[in-house]
């Protein structure tokens, strides 16, 4: 096991098992909670892929469907077993991964054994699939009348022709109807392999003990030979209409959102950690609530407390969005575009403050086991060097983040307004 330092008094242990599973163990001796997460590299975007030289496709929502049914096997429900031992077990799906996790204050080691045993073999019944299909359809409906989601989805549909970028993670009513035991079995066989997963344990146990438990589990006997290769070729084209206004008299407020497609080619020669930070810090500098532009938009009463920014960076594409409820949405979009045309040079003292903030936030993640486990798995997924994270923040220069400015071109800027007037 390789031991690495994360902070003055925080260490993480790493080992890659023979079956390809990557294991990270982060001891938190003084905390009461123990937390374990198994992250499968299979998410909402994995609709087409290549496995053993053959091409396959899956209905939208397959990863999410699997997440719903995976705790049930041969009539037994892992949730019940864990509840009996006062542990919480749950899962969620993102565009990139499916994450299964549990936490407990007692019985952690036997629960970890049981958790891994479950992942070594599952058998999901037709009855379970039918039951969860009904529930998932209700889940899809739940989010449909959320205004923010509607505008965000519409904007991404304009920005990217490829549905993998924006399709609902849960799929559609039609696609969910197409998911059956055959589809799920295929997805498990291809994606649920140790060499396509990482395991992160944050606990008050000795790391060696935890590693021994993992190594002795059935899960470690699953040998992975073939490598899964998701066919993630994205059509990053944009729709011809760049600005959309939709009128709906039933709305009580208007919401406007502007998106910028980020040209990742600008960062070809830059290290992954630095690239991500450069993009994030650039937009933070210009559009966070500490920015001058925020102050301008606020002062002109074009935004309110629903102001929101988001930076998404994947291996294949990246974008930034900024939006708000607004009493004057058209003027808001026009004003943001004006501000984008006249972005001011980076002031060093403000840039330093943003770096300070990022350092403080990172240290703050260690406050509880849930938060740090989540952040570490997220950083690992994004290929960020967690051992030198603070050093990269400290060393980044304003010139590094200025590269992002070159992506601000009219062809990369799109907007969507949903308004009641």
């Amino acid at each position: 096991m390789i031991k690495n330092k994360l902070l003055t008094d925080e260490f993480i242990y790493y080992e890659k098992l023979e079956n390809g599973l990557e294991v990270y163990i982060h001891p938190k001796k003084e905390h009461i909670d123990n937390y374990c997460a198994l992250q499968v590299n299979f998410g909402g975007q994995d609709l087409e892929y290549n496995f053993n030289a053959l091409n396959y496709s899956l209905p939208a929502g397959t990863a999410h469907f699997l997440e719903h049914v995976y705790f049930e096997s041969d009539g037994q429900n892992l949730s019940d077993e864990f509840a009996d031992k006062n542990a919480d077990i749950n899962a969620y799906t993102t565009r990139e991964v499916t994450k299964y996790y549990f936490n407990s204050q007692e019985n952690f080691v036997p629960l970890l054994k049981r958790f891994l045993e479950h992942f070594s073999k599952v058998n999901i019944s037709e009855e379970t699939i039918k039951k969860e299909r009904n529930i998932i359809k209700k889940e899809i409906l739940m989010y449909e009348d959320n205004l923010y989601n509607q505008v965000n989805d519409e904007l991404l549909k304009q920005m990217y022709l490829d549905e993998k970028v924006w399709i609902d993670l849960a799929g559609t009513i039609d696609s969910v109807n197409k998911i059956n035991s055959y589809v799920l079995k295929q997805a498990i066989e291809h994606f649920y392999r140790p060499n396509n997963m990482i395991l992160i344990v944050t606990s008050n146990y000795d790391p060696e003990l935890i590693l021994d438990v993992i190594k002795a589990s059935n899960f470690n006997q699953n040998k992975s030979i073939s490598l899964i290769k998701p066919n993630l070729i994205f059509n990053l084209g944009t729709k011809t209409t760049h600005d959309i206004v939709k009128l709906n008299k039933n709305q009580k407020v208007s919401y406007a959102m502007l998106g910028i497609k980020i040209d990742l080619g600008l960062f070809d020669k830059v290290d992954e950690s630095l690239k991500r930070l450069a993009i994030i810090l650039f937009f933070e500098y210009h559009f966070s609530e500490s920015s001058k532009n925020y102050e301008i938009l606020d002062k002109e009463k074009l935004i309110n407390y629903m102001y929101n920014t988001n930076v998404k960076i994947t291996e294949h594409y990246a974008y930034f969005t900024v939006g708000s409820e607004s009493n004057n949405p058209k003027k808001l979009i026009k004003r943001i575009k004006e501000l984008l045309r006249k972005l001011e040079p980076i002031e060093e003292d403000i840039f330093l403050a943003h770096k300070h903030s990022r350092i403080g936030n990172f240290i703050g993640y260690f406050e509880n086991v849930y938060k740090i486990n989540y952040i570490l798995s997220d950083l690992i997924l994004k290929n960020i060097n967690i051992y030198d994270y603070l050093a990269v923040i400290s060393s980044i220069k304003s010139t590094d983040i200025e590269i992002t400015k070159q992506t601000i071109k009219s062809q990369n800027i799109l907007s969507v307004i949903y308004t009641d007037k």
């Binding site: 902070l7 003055t8 905390h31 009461i32 909670d33 949730s79 019940d80 509840a83 009996d84 006062n86 919480d88 749950n90 204050q105 039951k131 009904n134 529930i135 998932i136 209700k138 889940e139 409906l141 739940m142 989010y143 449909e144 009348d145 959320n146 205004l147 039933n250 709305q251 009580k252 407020v253 966070s288 609530e289 500490s290 920015s291 925020y294 102050e295 606020d298 002062k299 009463k301 309110n304 407390y305 629903m306 409820e325 009493n327 403000i350 330093l352 403050a353 943003h354 300070h356 903030s357 990022r358 350092i359 403080g360 936030n361 240290i363 703050g364 260690f366 406050e367 509880n368 400290s394």
Partner: protein, 429 residues
């Protein structure tokens, strides 16, 4: 953890010394008697102070200063419980041990809170007209957001329906019908009441040097008279009127799914045996993924994606919330009623009680293990009980609940309101 208190310059300072966290929290708590007439003003004060500092007069400058303090987090909360209301201002910042800079953020944190609370921009001794106008403008936006967001709209209209005989217990900001009465005179009066007449307490949590903090407070916080607001009035507010007729209210709208609430009224004294029993009963009924509602309504009948129950002593209501297709509304309601009836007849197992106790105790332990959770528990214990948070006592209070207590508590539940925010479709037309 070492917990001790001192009175410095008329202020009760509570020290919770705990060395496993990497941040420190300093919180100023101003406790007053809850007053429906000034509820809007009390809720507006934090934002006015945040946006009206002399030293950091704009939002970007305010946030930038917090960024410079290594991402210090400022929060202002309102705790309204029983007959009390507390304005809480807190700053969470990195312990200097973890920074390469030779910077000590502790004094900066106190200075920042002092500046924010005690030195806002004023004009002719009033908080500025602009700051008040901004809050009134924002309050109107909030009301529109509430109407737009379907789950929030349903929640507020349910609360209004069940508490229509006692609007003062609603406690949802902003109170629309009182906004017309808000002006710079009323807000300034509430602000000075907070400064001069409230009971003030400070909480410091983390790995700090208490002598350093004593000195900072002595030198920088003005002496104030000791007030005992908490003992002025009985904390309990358990005067819910129990109705014999169930209100069934339907609101039809363009929705993707129906949102429903069932509200049960229940009156018990705070911190009594039945209070703890009700909290535990809530877990058994719908407080977690192994609850009766989740197991039957979602897992067995597949009528919903989520369903849960929530008990709040302050309103004297236990409510059940779920979302479903219109065609399933009545089936779900009937099932819920029969689950509650069964509970009243003692139809729940010892295993269900043990699981619920374990779950609840685990949640308390987990919250007490985080810095923010510990602050929250400490402040609530202070407001609600006028005493220190005691994890062992809390655990015992729940461990001692018997099945008979749970049945006794359940018999107090009286269904008052069914509120349906219903999807317009063939079934409802």
């Amino acid at each position: 953890m070492d917990y001790y208190s001192k009175t410095i310059n008329g202020i009760e300072v509570n020290y919770l010394k705990i060395n496993k966290h990497k941040h420190i929290i300093v919180a100023y708590n101003f406790i007053s008697l809850y007053d429906y007439q000034t509820f809007n003003e009390r809720n507006m004060i934090p934002n006015i102070l945040e946006n009206n500092m002399r030293k950091y007069p704009t939002k970007d400058k305010f946030n930038l200063h917090l960024d410079m303090l290594y991402g210090a987090i400022f929060k202002a909360d309102i705790y309204s419980r029983g007959n009390l209301l507390a304005n809480n201002f807190y700053l969470k910042f990195v312990n200097k041990k973890y920074l390469r800079d030779q910077i000590n953020l502790t004094k900066d944190a106190f200075m920042f809170l002092n500046e924010l609370i005690y030195n806002p921009k004023t004009y002719n001794n009033y908080l500025t007209q602009k700051s008040v106008n901004d809050q009134l403008y924002e309050a109107k936006d909030i009301l529109k957001t509430f109407n737009q967001d379907k789950p929030t709209h349903a929640y507020i209209n349910f609360k209004k329906a069940i508490l229509n005989d006692n609007k003062k217990r609603l406690k949802i900001y902003p109170v629309e019908q009182k906004l017309k009465d808000v002006n710079k005179i009323t807000i300034t009066k509430s602000y000075f009441d907070m400064l001069n007449n409230d009971q003030m307490k400070i909480f410091v949590i983390g790995d700090f040097d208490s002598e350093e903090i004593d000195n900072i407070i002595k030198s920088n916080l003005r002496p104030r008279k000791i007030t005992q607001i908490q003992t002025l009035k009985n904390f309990n507010n358990n005067n819910n009127k129990i109705n014999s007729n169930v209100k069934d209210i339907k609101e039809v709208d363009e929705l993707s799914i129906s949102r429903l609430y069932l509200g049960y009224k229940v009156n018990v004294n705070f911190n009594s045996r039945l209070y703890f029993a009700l909290n535990l009963l809530n877990i058994i009924i719908g407080g977690y993924s192994k609850s009766k509602l989740f197991s039957v309504i979602r897992e067995e009948l597949n009528l919903v994606y989520f369903i849960y129950s929530s008990y709040n002593h302050d309103t004297g209501i236990l409510y059940i919330n779920f979302e479903c297709e219109p065609v399933d509304e009545n089936k779900a309601i009937d099932q819920i009623k029969s689950i509650i009836d069964a509970v009243k007849h003692g139809e729940f197992s010892d295993l269900e009680i043990i699981r619920a106790k374990d779950y609840l105790i685990k949640q308390f332990k987990s919250r007490a293990d985080s810095l923010s959770g510990l602050l929250n528990l400490s402040i609530l214990a202070d407001i609600e009980e006028n005493q220190r948070f005691d994890l062992d006592k809390t655990i015992n209070d729940y461990k001692n609940i018997t099945k008979a207590d749970l049945v006794e508590a359940s018999l107090l539940l009286s269904l008052d309101t069914i509120y349906r925010y219903t999807k317009k479709d063939d079934y409802n037309d």
